[in-house]
Every structure is written in C-alpha cells, then in structure tokens.
Symmetry: C2
Subunit: 764 residues, 2 copies
Amino acid sequence: MAGYSVIGKRLPRIDGAAKAMGSAKYAADMALPMMLHGKIVRSPLPHARIVNIDTTLAERLPGVRGVITGKDFGGFRRGMLPNTRDEGALASDRVRYIGEGVAAVAAVDEDIAEEAVDLIKVDYEELPAVFHAMEAIKEGAPQIHDHVQNNMSWECHYHFGDVVEGFRKSDYIREDKFSTGYNIHGFLEPHAILADYDPTGRITVWASKQCPYFLLRHLGLLLGLSLDKVRVIQPHIGGGFGGKNDSFDLDFCAALLSKKTGRPVKIVYSQKELLTAGRRRHTMWMDIRTGVKRDGTLVALECKAIADGGAYTCTAPITMYLAGVILSLPYRLPNLKFDGQRVYTNKPAAVALRGHGAPHTRFAADVQLDMIAEDLGIDPVEIRLKNALKPGDITPSGLKISTCGLAECIERATETANWNEKKQGAKRVSGKIARGIGIACHGFVTGERLHPHDSCAAIVKVNEDGTVNLLTGATDIGQGSDTVLSMIAAEELGIHLDNIDFSRIDTAFTPIDVGSYSSRVTYMSGNAVKLAAADAKKQLGETAAKRLGAKVEDIEFKDGLVFVKHNPEKSMAFRQLARIACSHPESKAIIGKASYTFPTVGKFDFETGKGNASEEYSFGAEVSEVEVNIETGQVRYIQSTLAADCGKALNPMAVEGQLEGCIVQGQGQALHENFIIEQGKTINPNFADYRMPRSLDVPQIKGIPVETVTPGGPYGAKEGGEGVIISTPPAIVNAIHDAIGVWMKDLPVTPEKILKALRDKKGG
Amino acid sequence: MAGYSVIGKRLPRIDGAAKAMGSAKYAADMALPMMLHGKIVRSPLPHARIVNIDTTLAERLPGVRGVITGKDFGGFRRGMLPNTRDEGALASDRVRYIGEGVAAVAAVDEDIAEEAVDLIKVDYEELPAVFHAMEAIKEGAPQIHDHVQNNMSWECHYHFGDVVEGFRKSDYIREDKFSTGYNIHGFLEPHAILADYDPTGRITVWASKQCPYFLLRHLGLLLGLSLDKVRVIQPHIGGGFGGKNDSFDLDFCAALLSKKTGRPVKIVYSQKELLTAGRRRHTMWMDIRTGVKRDGTLVALECKAIADGGAYTCTAPITMYLAGVILSLPYRLPNLKFDGQRVYTNKPAAVALRGHGAPHTRFAADVQLDMIAEDLGIDPVEIRLKNALKPGDITPSGLKISTCGLAECIERATETANWNEKKQGAKRVSGKIARGIGIACHGFVTGERLHPHDSCAAIVKVNEDGTVNLLTGATDIGQGSDTVLSMIAAEELGIHLDNIDFSRIDTAFTPIDVGSYSSRVTYMSGNAVKLAAADAKKQLGETAAKRLGAKVEDIEFKDGLVFVKHNPEKSMAFRQLARIACSHPESKAIIGKASYTFPTVGKFDFETGKGNASEEYSFGAEVSEVEVNIETGQVRYIQSTLAADCGKALNPMAVEGQLEGCIVQGQGQALHENFIIEQGKTINPNFADYRMPRSLDVPQIKGIPVETVTPGGPYGAKEGGEGVIISTPPAIVNAIHDAIGVWMKDLPVTPEKILKALRDKKGG
C-alpha cells in the first residue's frame, strides 16, 4: 500500500471535462454522409399472431429507402444458451408483448421514418394474454411459447448442505413471503446505434453497449461474418446498469437495413420506447423459510422464488443463479435450498439490473433476519455479527471467501451511526413523524465467468515523448473505469495520469474484453492493464539498465523518474528514457501487452449452482435512518451510513460515486420506482410518472471505507459498484419497522402500503 | 522459397472491392456534425511583403465562424532540420510564391467560405522576384530569404574516392550538361483533412497522408499537445508519390481553425489549388563529367547539380543526398564527386517525388554512359554489363550491396527485347517514322533511416474464431501495402488471406510506423508484421503443443492447419486452436507484437554523404523502344522490357503494378509532363494542359522478375515501387538517339525539341 503516487488518490474523471463541456460524443451524436434514420414498428397488442404485414404504402413513401420485417431475419434466434434461444431480432410470427418490434424502416430523415412506420399495416389475430407470473404458471394459462409448458422460461433447483437436517437442528424457524417491484435501469442515454454495412462484406457500428464484444459476436452471427469483419466502435456511454449488456432489435435492424439499403442507418430509441418496450428488472415473489439456533446462528434457509421474466428468457440462467447462490452471502449459512422459477408473461423481457438476481432474495433474507432477531430478542447488529462470513470461509455452494471485512463493516457502520443510542431511543419525534434505524448487509461477486472466452487484455503503447496510449476493450458506461484503468497504468509506469490517453473501444484495434457487467472491470481489466504496463516497463527497463549501468531488475519507475533501486541518484526522466528507447540506435517501439483471466474460477454451473463463482467477493454493512409520516405514509430516507469493503479503493472519489449511486438506486427500488401495467400496457413510461429519487430525496450519505487488500486484485481492488444496492432496500425496510413497527414485505414501500399496514396493525 | 501458400501468389488487393464499389472512404468523404468548411486565401503575387490583412468584412459575413492569418500561428516554423525551418504554417510577413497561403476561413458551407476568401483584403508591397534557379544564384538576384545569401536553400559537397586521381587515370573523359522538367506528383486525390479539436486539449484528424506519424508530431508541436493527445486517423489514400509525406498549410489551418471555432473543420484542396500552389519535383541542371578506361570501365564521375527548390527548403537535404549518392548506383564507380546546390526561387516548394533526387542525376549519368559507349565504339549493353555492381560490393560512399541481380537483369532484358537484332537493324521503318532501342539501368534504396524514431511495429490480434486483426501504422497510399502486409501475416500464421482484416491507421491504437516513403513499407513494416505474427504463433503454439502432445518448437502452421512437424497427421484446424486457446480454462487473448528497425544502417549523414543508407538495394535494367515521327517530332513509346530485381516478389501482380506505374510516370517525365511558368504563375494548372500519359500513350510492357532473395527482407523482399522511374527517362532518350541520332539532354523531350534537334543536326 505504501507510497502510491496515483492509486488511492481522489482524482477527477479523465472524461469529466469532455462530458461537462459537451465534446464527449455518444452513439446518437454519430453521423455519416448518406446516413438513413431507422424506426421500429411496434406491436400494440400483448399477444397476437401476425397474420400479414403490408409494407407497400411505406415502401412507396418518398424518402423511404428500406423496410424489413421479422421474416427478413430468416431463422435468426438469440438467447444466452443453446436451449434458451427463444427470441428473434424482430417478431416474425407472433408478438408477445406490447411494444415488440415487428418491422423496421429506414428513411432519409426521422420524420419520414415515423410516417412510414404509421403506413405499415400489420394484421394481428389477437391471442389470450397473461401478465402476472403467478397467473402464468397456473394450469390453463395462455401459453406464450410453444416449446415449454406452464410458461416456464427457466428454472433451477439448488441444494447445498442439507436443509432437512438443518431445519431439524434449528431451534426456531420462520417463514415469510416477500416480493419486489417492477423497475427499470433508468439510464439517461437510450439505446442507439449507427450501422454502416460495407458491400464488400464488413460492418462497422457505433453503439451504446456495455459489452461491445457481445454485439460483435451477435452481428457476426446475424450477417454470417467472421469476427475480423465486424467492427464495433464505442462512443461515450450514458449509463447501462445491466440494461445494455445485450443486443436488441435496433442493433439487428440497423445492421440489416444498412446491408439492404447500402447506406449507413442510425436508430435511436426514444425514452418512451425504452420505458414501454425495453428490458427491465424481474419482479420476484419469494417464500423464504429460515431456521436458526436460539442464539441466532443461521442453520438452514429454503427459498422458493418465482420471477416474472416477461416474454423472453434472455439472461435468466444468471439471474436465477445469483438469486439462489447469493443467499449464502454475506452470512454463514451451512444449508441452503433454492427453487427458482422464471416465468414467461406478456410483458417486455426482464434482464440484469445492478445486483441482478441478488437484491430480490437478499431483500427477503435480510428483512427476515431482522424479524427473527426480534422474535428471539436479539439485536439486529448482534445477529449479523454472529453470522458474518470471515476470511477463509467457503460457502456450501463453494464460494471461496479470501478477504472479508464484513464484521468490521458492521461495527464501524453502527458505531458511526450511533446505533445503540438510536435503536434504543424514542421513535416518535413529533406528532406524526416516526423515526427508525435499520441495518442490512451485502456481499457480491467481483466478476464471474460467463462467456467461454472471458479474458481481458490490454496494450500499453509508449510514445517517444513518454506519453502513453492505453488500449483495452473495457467499456466505461459511466462508472469511471477509463479513469481507474488509466490510473493503474500511470501508477505502474510511474508517470502522471495526464500522460495517459484512453481512446475507448474500437474492436478492430482494441484487445478483447468481456464487458462491463458483474462488476468485473477494475479487477479483471485492471489486472490486464497492470500486467501490460509492467510488460512495457520491462522493455524500457532494458534501455534504462544500460544507460544507468545497473541490472534490469533493479530499475524502478516512480513520479516520472526511472532510477536504480538503493541508488536513486542514478536516475533519468521517464520521458527521456522513452525518447532514448524509441530512437536510433535502439529504435524500439515500446508496446506492452497482457491478458488476464480468473486463475481459479471455473465455468458457471447453472444446473447445480456449485463452484466458486468469482475470484473475490465484496462486503458491506449499511445503516439506514428513515422518517415515516404516519398520516401520509410517506417515508423520508434521511441518513445512510455505509461501511464497505471493496478491497483497496483505487480512486476513493470514484468508489464513493458508485456506492452513493447504489444507495440512491436501491432507495428508488425500495420506496419509489414501479411500473404500472394494465393489460400489458405500461401506464407510466416516462420519468415524471415512473419516479426515480430526485436530488431532494437523497439521504445524507456517510461512507466508511473498510479496505481489505485482495492479493489478486490490481493494487488490492475488488467490486465496488454493485453490491451495495443489495443492502439498501432491506436496511430501509428494517428502519421503517423500527420506526412504526410494521414489516413491509412488498417493494416499493409506497405511502399507500404504509398506511394500509398501519391500519392493519391497528385493526389487528 | 519452397511451398509458400500465400506469398508469391498473384492476389487481388484486399481494398480492391471497396474501391471499385465506392465504399472506400477518403478524407474528403469524412463529415462530422457541426462541421465547418475551410478555405485558404492565397497570394496572387510571387514575392511581396504583407503590409496588412483586413479580415473585417469576412468575419462579418453570415455563416463565417473563424478567420485566421499567418500571425495566429505565432512563431511556428516548419522544416526537416533545425537549420532548415524556413517556412510558417501560413505566410505572415512575406509571400514567396503565387498561391502561398496568407489567411484561412471556416464557414458553415463551402460557398460562404469561398465568398469570405474574396472578402479578405490583403495589402501587399510587391518585391522583385526570381523564377529560375540559374538566375537566383547570380549576384544581385532578389533575395528570397533574409537568412541566406545567394538564395542557397541547401548545398552539399560530397567526395568519395579521389576524382582528381580518377580522371588522371582515365583514358577518356566526357563532359555534358543535362536538365530535367518541372513535374508534379499527379495523385488524383488532392490534399484533404478534417480536424476536430476537443476543448479538453486533444485533437483528432482524418487526413490524406503518407506518414501519419509526421502529421501527429507536427500537430503536437503546433498545438503544444503531447503525442498521446493527438490522434491521426487515415482513411483510404488516393496516391502520394512523395507529395503527401509532409504537413501543409491546410493541415495547420484546419487544426487551428477547429481550435478557434470549437467545431470540426474540413479543408480540401481543389486540383487547381494543388497544381498552382502544391509541392512539386525539383527541376535540376547538371554538369556531369565522366572518365572511363578505354574498355569502358568507369573510373571517375564529377557532377555539379543545381536544383530549383522553390520558396522553401522542405526535404532538400534528402533530395540532394540522393541526387549525389545514387550516382554510384547501379554501376561500380570508385571515385565520385558531387556538388549539389538547391536554390530558392519564387515558386512553390519542391519536395520528394518517386525516386526523389535520384532520377535527375541518374538520367544525366545513364545517357552520358551511352554517349561514352558510342564515342568508344562499345555496345551500350556491354558497357553496362562491364560496370554493373555485384553482390558484396561496397560503393565509395559506403552503400553495402548484399544482393544484386543487375547483370542478370541486363542479360534477360536485352535477350527478351531481342537487343542485338534491333540495335543492328534499320532505324527508318517508313518515310517519316524512325525506330530506336535504348537501355538504362537503376538501383535504389529499400528505405532509409531519417527520423530518429524509425522503427515500424505491428500487432497481430487473433480472434476466437481464428480470424485476425492486423494493426500496423503503415500507410497504403495506393501501392498495395495493406494487401502485402496482410499476406505476410497470413503466410506466417498459415491461414487464408480472407481471414485477416486490416483496418488502416488510427494513431490512438495502431503502433508507430515511420511512413510510406523511400520504398520502405514492405521491407520494414513487413518485417514487423512477420515478427508479430510469429509472436502470436508462439502463444498459440503452446496450446497446440499441449493438445497435440508435442514440443512447442515442433508445431507448424500451414494452410489453416496446425500440426506436428514430421508427424503431420497429428493436427488441428487453426480456427479450432484459436477457439481452444481463447476459451476456458486457458482463456488467453492472443496478441502478437513486434517492432523492427534496420539492424545495420546508421543515421543519414547529410554533410558527408557517407555511410550505408539502406539495408538493401534494388536493381533493374530497362530496354525501351520508341518510334519517332521525324516530321512532327512526336515520340511514341512502343515497348518497354524491364528486368527488375526487387528481391522476392511477395505479390507479383502488385509488384508489376508498381513497376508499370514507374515506367508510365517516368515516361510522363521523359516525354510529356512540364509546368509552364510565366512570372511565377503556373499557366497549365490542370490535367488537360499538364499532360500525363494516357492509356493510349502507354507502351507494351514486358516485365521479367529477377528475384534475389534478400536475407533481411520479409520472405526476401526488397524495394519495388520507386527505382524503376530512374531508368525510364534515360532508356527512352537513349532509344530516341538510336532512332534519330540526336541526344536529347533536356526533359521532357517534346516534339518541338526533337524537331529543333533534327534541324540542328542537319544544319551542323
């Protein structure tokens, strides 16, 4: 840890100025000469057979250059696993949700494209639809896909340890039902792509994606092109949160329309389109049964979860894996049984969203833990400390906990929040305002192994003036990874951050990276960058050793200087060294490169859930303080005290930004955000009616770093951008209970639900 | 040589389809949102002091967003060497040729920009001008630059061996005067740049350049940016021939206007602008004196050359170096003295053009050799064979000839052309048509060491499907290097050329390359690619060895297969190997990289001319047959028989294209092309009046490969794109003499000059 010059500093983002000054370009800003604008024709019905599509009028409209329908994609299917490829690029024979794409047009401007959309006549034969997962799994429910019975999109049945035996040994068992809301990612930059198909059999796209290499593969499959002939260029990205992992209708339509018209085609989602037809988070219903010893020690947990998956399967295997396996984080749990069922409904498909499947089941488990504590008369802090995972633990499914600061997080957070005093204190602070304090904890993966090719690579190109171009395939979707990766390169090379340039991704040039999901970038891509910088340093070191008359292994790089260890007056400037190494007679091109993959983690086993999912796990404890207005039912989230173990915080300011973002997004899901659906139609497809927290809603946040130094992370880093969202909702719900004595088991906790619960309590 | 699968094949260009179908984009095709169009205000006077520039009216014109003048560039000067920085980005105090830029505007469209140009009022105080180098060096001539006397832009005085002693030992000495024409490169894509300055202190440009890394450095200097903050992207390039090596007024103006306006700025030269104000070839006047033994053995050569350099010095040190030192190629010449003077005149600056300084002096020397042969009664072929350089020779200035097929070239070319019969045969083929045959030879460098950082690097990125992205900084300006470099990668990796993609240059990503000049790309960049592919192969070989149960060093790659040497039935497909290596559990990112620089060549010594200029030298012999109409003076070039030693021809079709291009461009300079200048004004700034050879002018060309295999070249390649232009003009002039008995010493050989020479001969 000693003496870093760049790492650990609170440095502003390298893309901050460009974003603030407006020079940062996003996919929707891209334009090419002769470019067409594409629009997608969307189904007005939740479930229907497509009888006929008449595109004649649209094709005749002056300015329209191309029209395609689902049939133009041949049999192209998409999905994560061979047996989950249940979705086309557009619907071709049947629509399964309101807003599903059935055709697309490309025209010389957006107005004509809109007009053409209106001129496309689709004859539908309406089918009975089902909108609730609980209805959809009932016998006799409308069948949304022919290939499965009972609308079962994906199910998993995990059993680690022996819950039967566990419950037998338990002194106390409690069973509850919980459910979560219907949320969306809420990124401010909607989906956008510009596709430029070259008739010689290549395609270049500019796209707003978390995982450019996923899109690369998808377009290769769609167009029958090898990977060298597909080029994905990444402009700046305005948020993702899991919602831009995958490829969507616009991506496939832009590519095919460009191929068909011979011109570049841009498609940009409107926010309304996104909030009507875009992917969203699963809603989940959980039956959870937990057995403990009298002292609160967890013995067994059984959870049955039903998730509303919408019309297609997408990343369901991961959702349900995380929903199940993360139940064994962050507390020791010797016996765990999880039965997950993800169900088709006639709604847009559900996918990953910050925390993915974990926040649902962990919400249930962490609130229930408070219930159990209350039942047994144990303090919520005490029961958590008793059960907290410790370094060296291995969970029953096989997660290997190498570093874990959870106990310290619990202690520091509660101490800072003045837990004891507040917990014991009076709850009613005025006639109608009750105050409460709650705690919840979390643990999360630092990346996971999903795609067979999941290495991340980096190239460090040292220029003759001692500046560096850093090449990685890692996508900064707003989390600040461009900055952190550049900091890693700067630290390793011993130069100033300003001397590193990071030009984002162009898959023709930048090395492969798995993508920005599962909080992997700092750890995996960071390791690749560190190794690549070390490789460049080694090459430079040879020249330095010659010049300074020392051994290569004794050359050190720091603060713009290159010097001999134990003899630091023998030194030269990094920029001088670069110039010498690059110039005659050596004339080397200094190019460092490396790739990194998890050394010990195996492939995901979606069937059994067994194995170590990640190289490292993050932990944290969050203390929430709320004020509940017992007359209006409104909850004010007033204070969050978060102690987080994300390993070494490479840029504390960036880590804080992520942690605060998690808390606010978790607050939204706990208290505010929910789609209202009527007969499959989203009633609130805008950010006025789908209410995310505003600046005035945000609590005071006190962050406490509990740094563990992971041996495998770059400079000791691990996950810091996702796990916290797991603990926020249960911490809030536990605080609400502390304030008003009711358990809110259904998210979001709206004023109506509060008032009803208070009425029920009074009545009961 | 044995058993190549890709190398040595006649393969079409990988960019051919895109160029034929129109999808290849050039710099002028680029566009960005909010882009402005720039135009340059040019001087109407050849020599004048700038008294005042009034930009008020232009700035007030609606649609104009920025106006700059020379003063806005501060003291920015450019030039190759510290003591040759005699040029600004725009003229600031004084204009020195008609067409020199004095101001520039950026406006929302081209028409407004044109209008704004007309509204800029420049007050000049006209100065006396001088347009002919011979006048410019006279005492009392107008002085074009204050810092030198007698308009001496650059001079060099080389002496290798001892010419005094050489002439003393000579049996026969002859002295003649020669001169060459005033030519331009004639590329079809004029200069173009799009510059996008980012207010956070970065710039991205799309530019038509032979040496993107030169532009990178120039823009860094201009804007005070480090090299990581300057990004040069190369679209396709429509020809260069030396005329796009450097950075010009438009490059600096677009960058500064973009910085000033905060918007992207595009500037595209018109052909008229280019042919009026653009760089061109030197005109040279040579006094040449050669001494030989009675049997024709060359003993000494002394040459005084005066070159018309135009208004600025530019690359003069190289021009004059090549004019001097290449006099000792391709014949053995123990004693050589060269006095070169490059003189300022009030015309656009002269720079490199295919062959650079060499075609001038070599034209003189190779015609004079025929004169000497005639004087001594020796056959022109015999005198060349007698003097031809041989492998192992070292010229008196230190050029080391490692491979040399010149003697074989002479024998094969003359045999194929049926030299003896035609040389002896009747010259008059009809009443007014005389036929003649001539020979000339050439030798040239395969790259030279110019910039201190002159390594070329390459990165080979292997995708999981076994396809490859090749990254180099080498620019294909039309010569086909993208194809040849891809072929080298394909051969080395044992895969099909179709499985390699080459995305041209983006300096943020692609590794450094010196640039496409001095015929270095195949050799230098090719070596880098070959080494980078070998590096990738090594990484893949480790996986193959494990899978095939063999040693790494026994793994071979060929024809899409990877197999065990001596046990080839143990094999796997390359694509299968790539997938395995990239996938769990190995999950490597296969990235090969390498850099290459000349191992033995030193830095140019412009002062003494001594040292080995290049790693390898090309050679060739060219037999030309012409028909001269003695009534009209017109010369028809009917047959060229060329035997060329360019080492191993990696793609014979591409080599032929280059050789043929050289012959036709040489033919243009021998017979057709010449700028007419009146008082510094170019009278024929268009391709109707500046007459390049048309398809009907082109001779039958018979190419004979004489392949030597250079040990250092990739697969044995050396220069093949430039040297031939040296021998074409003397071969034609020698053939004209054979036809009509007159020596044409001044290029181009126009009908008027022929008729005058015939009249003089008759009269004399």
